[in-house]
């Protein structure tokens, strides 16, 4: 696949961004897309945070890959997040590989891609960079910040950092800290990438290589964790490929094998291996409990933000119990919190597929708050 970065929107922010690791970026790029129109009173903006493998191209055509946006099902005209009504903003996270400052971009001092010379970033750093984007767009307060998975973590972090910058928040299929299991899966992915000789200690871009196998395996491992046992069983069971018989070899006999391979290798075409390392690290470091001395409620003290927490029953990566902990923390400080656990077989990926009850909840929550926000003084 040929990637085309020529026509992407990005801004260079010439402000200091002090990263959690201690490094200061004094200039950084944020690549972003907007959909719909900002109202005169600026009360219809929705900031969407993307997940690990996502990007700023929420809907319509992805200008870089030429493929469909990752949340086409949810965002667009007459869709649950209706772009006829709302002004939708989505930015590529820093550390990403779709135009924002990240390990594959050229470091101005060395004239080479950053590679592992890029500082380790956190969810908080990503969120701070996007708050600068809101400033650039002249938006003081969004109607909503929302996202699934890592996008949900960013939403939580945003609310903790900027209690006055959004009216509502919808953290979906996420957790307030990464569990040991989450970290283990991410470490598996990182080790797969780093074990690929083509990775070349992170210098593969300079040497013209691509750690295809490592990144593909990383994605395959991830993909298993995004689906539920039942979902996989229903979709593939033990179905065989066209040959219809076991081949007594190690080629892909089973449909589930070829599915995983396809998912893995098509990912390599559009994603940067080092970015995968950096972003998974950021997720692993995420811990809103620890950041607040073990008391998650303190992260949201005195918040006026209206929360709608959504989890999925078969999500074993970010299980419902993690969402409930967030609900309890918000409840205990009297925050305005709603919660829904959607019953489904689609696992963690439920927020990316057609899940009518989820979509109805999201749509209803945004619509009612759109009216309330408009009338807010």
């Amino acid at each position: 696949m040929k990637l085309n970065f020529e026509n992407i929107n990005k801004i260079t922010i010439s402000k200091d961004l002090l990263l959690d690791c201690g490094v200061k970026l004094n200039k950084f790029d944020v690549a972003f897309e907007t959909y719909g129109k900002l109202d005169k009173n600026k009360k219809n903006a929705i900031l969407i945070f993307h997940a690990l493998s996502g990007d700023q191209f929420v809907t319509g055509l992805n200008k870089v890959t030429g493929k469909e946006g990752w949340w086409n099902l949810v965002v667009g005209e007459n869709k649950p997040i209706d772009t006829k009504k709302y002004f939708v903003i989505c930015a590529n996270v820093i550390g990403g590989c779709m135009g924002s400052t990240g390990p594959k971009e050229i470091c101005k001092e060395t004239g080479k891609p950053y590679g592992l010379g890029f500082p380790v970033i956190t969810i908080k750093d990503m969120v701070k960079a996007q708050a600068y984007l809101l400033d650039h767009l002249g938006i003081d307060k969004t109607l909503a910040v929302l996202g699934g998975s890592m996008g949900g973590m960013q939403a939580l972090q945003f609310c903790s950092l900027y209690p006055n910058k959004t009216f509502t928040a919808v953290p979906i299929a996420c957790a307030a800290s990464h569990s040991a299991q989450n970290i283990a899966f991410n470490e598996l992915a990182r080790q797969a990438i780093m074990a690929d000789p083509e990775w070349d200690a992170g210098n593969y871009i300079s040497t013209g290589k691509i750690p295809r196998k490592g990144l593909a395996i990383a994605r395959m491992a991830g993909h298993i964790s995004y689906l539920s046992e039942k979902g996989l069983q229903n979709k593939f069971g033990r179905k065989l490929q066209e040959d219809k018989e076991l081949q007594f070899s190690f080629d892909a006999d089973f449909q589930v094998e070829s599915y995983l391979k396809y998912q893995g290798y098509s990912f390599v075409d559009r994603f940067d291996a080092n970015s995968y390392l950096y972003i998974t690290r950021a997720m692993d470091y995420f811990d809103l409990y620890k950041a607040n001395n073990g008391n998650l409620s303190l992260a949201f003290e005195n918040t006026k933000i209206k929360f709608c927490i959504i989890s999925f029953s078969t999500d074993w990566l970010y299980p419902t119990s993690e969402s409930k902990k967030i609900v309890i923390a918000l409840n205990s400080i009297g925050a305005e919190v709603s919660f829904v656990n959607i019953i489904t077989n689609n696992g963690h990926d439920s927020f990316l597929v057609n899940e009518p009850k989820f979509l109805d909840t999201l749509k209803g929550f945004l619509e009612s708050n759109y009216e309330d926000f408009k009338n807010e003084n």
Binding site: I328, F339, V340, K357, D360, T361, G364, S368, D372
Partner: protein, 198 residues
């Protein structure tokens, strides 16, 4: 508006913080929001109803009050409402006391098993009563702990719960219950409404 809603509306103070346990489609919360400018929250076990509440702009948590009330801090609400569902809990006594831990006051409504039609049904037909407020067969009823208005008074007495107001509802009319008319009200009330505190 239903007569029960009217009665509840009168009991709730303006601008108070209200938790509606088993809030259903959020109708009561909306009425209270509109008429009393309350700061309302709900808990509801049925997901479709939760979604309906969210689309009305209400803050509602999908959950089972029996398990989730424990997560609410002490004295975090002015009022807790339990509208005709006390009898559906495994441990109504614990729920009742939990509500009074979370809220300063609670409003409980119960279908009165002491209502004369209920008594007559059992007496004459020899079968479990099926009435307007108790529309279920014994084998598929969600009602696990039926009680009469007098029974409710008894529980309040042993748990040292103070009944501040007690109202009888029958045929869309309401009247006050007190100790002197308790026996007769226990016979002629379809529904009992209680404002209680500790």
């Amino acid at each position: 508006m239903k007569i029960e809603d009217n009665v509840l509306l009168d009991l709730i103070e303006t601008k108070s913080k209200v938790l509606d346990v088993g809030c259903g489609d959020g109708n009561l919360l909306l009425i209270l929001k509109k008429n009393k400018n309350i700061n309302g929250r709900g808990i509801e076990i049925n997901q479709l109803k939760v979604t309906e509440c969210l689309s009305k702009g209400l803050a509602v948590i999908e959950g089972d009050a029996e398990k989730d009330l424990i997560n609410y801090p002490d004295n975090s609400f002015d009022f807790a409402i339990l509208n005709q569902s006390l009898q559906q809990f495994y441990n109504p006594r614990k729920v009742l006391n939990d509500l009074l831990r979370i809220a300063n006051k609670a409003i409980i409504t119960i279908p009165n098993f002491g209502y004369w039609k209920v008594r007559l049904h059992l007496l004459l037909k020899g079968k479990m009563p099926i009435t307007k407020t108790l529309p279920y067969n014994w084998f598929d009823t969600p009602n696990l702990h039926m009680s009469t208005i007098k029974d409710f008074y008894f529980l309040c007495k042993i748990d040292k719960i103070r009944i501040m107001k007690s109202i009888s509802i029958t045929n869309n009319k309401f009247s006050t219950i007190n100790y002197s008319n308790l026996n007769i009200k226990n016979l002629i009330s379809e529904i009992g409404v209680f404002l209680i505190t500790k």
